[in-house]
């Protein structure tokens, strides 16, 4: 037989793949063609709108855009696309809310250290992982000190926080605080002690039985009514409490799923070795249960991260809230698409990151278990 060159083999491979997957029957061929046309149309429209016909800082006449009337699309309707100047003009608000501009370096500092703080938890093969984990425990205190202020730093009240800062603060802190709480709840729910068990069941079912928005309202509106005059716990803190409780109930159920997947034999084996309850739980049960529960845990984390934008209802400006406030400013009103596309992009980056990480873990665990 003739010998095929490497290149033509490759070409054959692609050709076969295309025939097999895209054009196997006339129905499939039709769908492929329609899909390609659709993707092409939508894709070119979007790219054109977002990049080629868009204004960034200046309009088509080269003027710096300082309000919406300078946007090319408002000068020549139909000719031009997005007007991204609103994002430039409001960049600080999107990132830091109303944080005083001369103190913004503190937020940047906290943002910059965030990857260092979580990398130790995410990857177990990291060199010097121990030190990263130490840093993870120091980070919340450091971050709080840097953001809120204290000795040596001026105090910036949480009412000045906003935008991505609030979104990340609620998301990261909520998830971080909910994690230990949810382990306790999950263990409590499986406990043989009736009072502990019923307390955990009532807590979890109650929190899971109401929407997050109800919890936010309760924390925001009813809490101050019970407290004496003048004692107003911080608005952001109230939201954080609600978010944490909500997340812990959901995460507890995810972890309980992991706990239930551990065969009874594991516990018996541990007990027969003379381990007590805490030793069994800490060394045998939890490491296995958490591994199993990681995909659903990450799932609830992604859900929570997006749910944080509900805090707009109680008057906190998260990323979405800041975007809406920008739209309410006369200078920029009506640039909906620009603002919402930008916000979606930011949320997408974080949620997609979490989802890829979950996938990576799943793959890793698969090899571990086989």
């Amino acid at each position: 037989m003739t010998t095929f060159s490497n290149q033509s083999l490759m070409r054959n491979k692609y050709y076969n793949w295309i025939i097999k997957n895209l054009f196997s029957s006339w129905v499939n061929s039709l769908m492929t063609v329609v899909a390609i046309i659709f993707i092409y149309e939508v894709g070119t429209f979007f790219l054109n709108w977002a990049f080629f016909a868009a204004d960034f800082r200046t309009n088509f006449q080269g003027e710096l855009i300082t309000d919406r009337s300078f946007c090319s699309k408002n000068i020549m309707p139909g000719e031009y696309g997005a007007c991204w100047a609103i994002i430039y003009a409001r960049w600080d608000q999107f990132m830091y809310g109303f944080y005083p501009i001369e103190e913004v370096w503190r937020v940047n500092f906290v943002y910059a250290l965030l990857p260092l703080a979580i990398i130790g938890i995410l990857f177990d093969k990291l060199p010097f992982r121990k030190y990263f984990i130490y840093f993870t425990f120091i980070y919340p205190f450091l971050a709080y000190f840097m953001l809120y202020g204290g000795p040596g730093l001026s105090v910036v009240g949480t009412n000045k926080w906003g935008g991505l800062l609030v979104t990340l603060f609620l998301g990261v802190t909520g998830i971080g605080l909910a994690f230990p709480l949810s382990i306790i709840l999950a263990l409590g729910r499986r406990s043989k002690m009736p009072i502990v068990k019923s307390l955990c069941v009532v807590f979890i079912e109650f929190i899971r039985g109401v929407p997050l928005i109800t919890l936010l309202f309760t924390a925001n509106v009813m809490l101050p009514l019970f407290l004496p005059d003048g004692v107003n716990p911080d608005n952001l803190l109230r939201a954080l409490v609600a978010v944490t409780l909500f997340q812990s109930a959901y995460m507890a159920e995810a972890i309980r799923g992991g706990l239930q997947a551990i065969p009874r034999g594991q516990i018996e084996a541990a007990q027969s070795l003379g381990l007590n309850y805490w030793q069994t739980t800490r060394k045998i049960i939890l490491p296995q249960a958490l591994k199993i529960a990681i995909p659903p845990i990450v799932n609830t984390c992604i859900g929570l991260f997006k749910d944080t934008s509900l805090v707009l209802i109680i008057g906190l400006f998260d990323l979405l809230g800041i975007g809406r406030a920008a739209l309410a400013d006369m200078t920029w009103t009506k640039l909906y698409y620009e603002v919402y596309v930008f916000i979606s992009l930011v949320f997408f980056i974080f949620c997609f990151g979490m989802s890829r990480y979950s996938l990576y873990l799943e793959k890793k665990l698969k090899t571990d278990n086989s």
Binding site: V221, L225, F226, I313, G315, L316, A328, T333
Partner: protein, 341 residues
């Protein structure tokens, strides 16, 4: 389970209300002075009425009332902390004492004034609910809207007026509920509903921002009275007086022709009312528990009502609202402040 739950909830509510009533003593003015800033409930963002600008500074005609009160109390209009509130939480935030006053396009109604334990101290904008539809629908009157889908902000008087109007005229509608004004606007622009209803000021403001304003019609029917004004809690009349007269000072300032630019010159005016207002004739500030130059501070730092109106929502702004009902009584409107004496 439901019984226990409802018992629990009612217990919580009782506790809450009783502690709120028990807690509502102590002078708000002292509290504000001690804190060093005024806590003012604002909108989460409504063009011209209250929204943060690019620098993060709040601006708008409602915001100016907060600034006026701060100028009266502290002599510094910037000593305000804005607490953004949505239409759902605005009253509870005020009742719980988290804010000292609420100034966010809130309609003065009997039940809010009496039943919710609020005190509306005046009106800073007379509004009325209207309807906007795309001109392409060919609708000329709100009476032709039977069966239409309507974008409506939940928890507002607008929602109730809408239901009343359609019921009274034997028509039906399909409501498309939205949370904020900008969302309602976006939903209408995207064609998710046929009709966009809110206060007429809001409709004009939205329309001004459309690429082609003439493609939308604001229908002639105004179906409600919507006097929008600042509110405080029941139970502290002295504080209510301060907020009321801060607003009145802006209106009287316009009547007397005092602007932020000419306060100093007017100090030597021959008009006794001007002298009383600006504190050149002492004694009036003390009645309110304020310094004598309180109104002068309002007018020099915030300006009179007309200045505030023209700057934020007047014909020279993108919102482009005519004075109309909100002109002074002597210019054909119904804006009227009691005499300053």
């Amino acid at each position: 389970m439901t019984k226990i739950k409802s018992l629990f909830i009612s217990l919580l509510l009782t506790l809450g209300v009783s502690s709120a009533i028990a807690g509502s003593h102590g002078s708000t003015l002292d509290l504000v002075k001690e804190r060093g800033k005024l806590m003012c409930g604002s909108n989460t963002g409504l063009a011209g009425f209250g929204a943060p600008n690019d620098a993060g500074v709040w601006e708008g005609i409602d915001v100016d009332v907060c600034r006026a009160v701060a100028a009266a109390v502290f002599g510094d209009a910037s000593k305000v902390e804005y607490v953004p509130t949505t239409s759902k939480v605005r009253f509870t935030v005020l009742q719980s004492g988290e804010i000292d006053m609420l100034s966010r396009n809130t309609t003065w109604t009997l039940s809010r004034d009496v039943d919710l334990g609020l005190e509306f101290v005046g009106v800073n904008y007379y509004d009325g609910q209207g309807f906007m539809v795309p001109a392409s629908l060919g609708v000329n009157s709100a009476m032709e809207l039977d069966g239409a889908s309507v974008c409506i902000q939940v928890g507002t008087t607008t929602e109730m007026n809408l239901a009343d109007f359609f019921k009274a005229n034997g028509m039906s509608y399909e409501s498309v509920p939205v949370e904020t004004n900008s969302e309602a606007d976006a939903a209408y622009t995207a064609g998710r509903c046929d009709v966009y209803t809110t206060d007429a000021s809001g409709l004009y403001a939205s329309r001004a921002g459309y690429p082609d304003p003439s493609a939308h019609v604001v229908l002639p029917e105004i179906v409600s009275k919507e006097p929008l004004g600042p509110a405080v809690r029941h139970g502290d009349s002295e504080w209510a007086d301060i907020v009321r007269w801060s607003l009145n000072a802006m209106i009287i300032g316009e009547e007397l022709g005092i602007t932020s630019g000419n306060v100093d010159e007017m100090m030597s005016s021959n008009n006794p009312e001007v002298l009383r207002l600006l504190g050149a004739e002492p004694g009036y500030g003390a009645m309110l528990g304020l310094s004598d130059d309180w109104a002068a501070n309002i007018l020099s730092q915030v300006g009179n009502y007309s200045e505030s109106f023209e700057k934020h929502i007047g014909p020279n702004t993108p919102i482009n609202i005519q004075r109309g009902l909100n002109a002074l009584y002597k210019d054909g409107g119904i804006l009227y402040a009691p005499p300053f004496r």
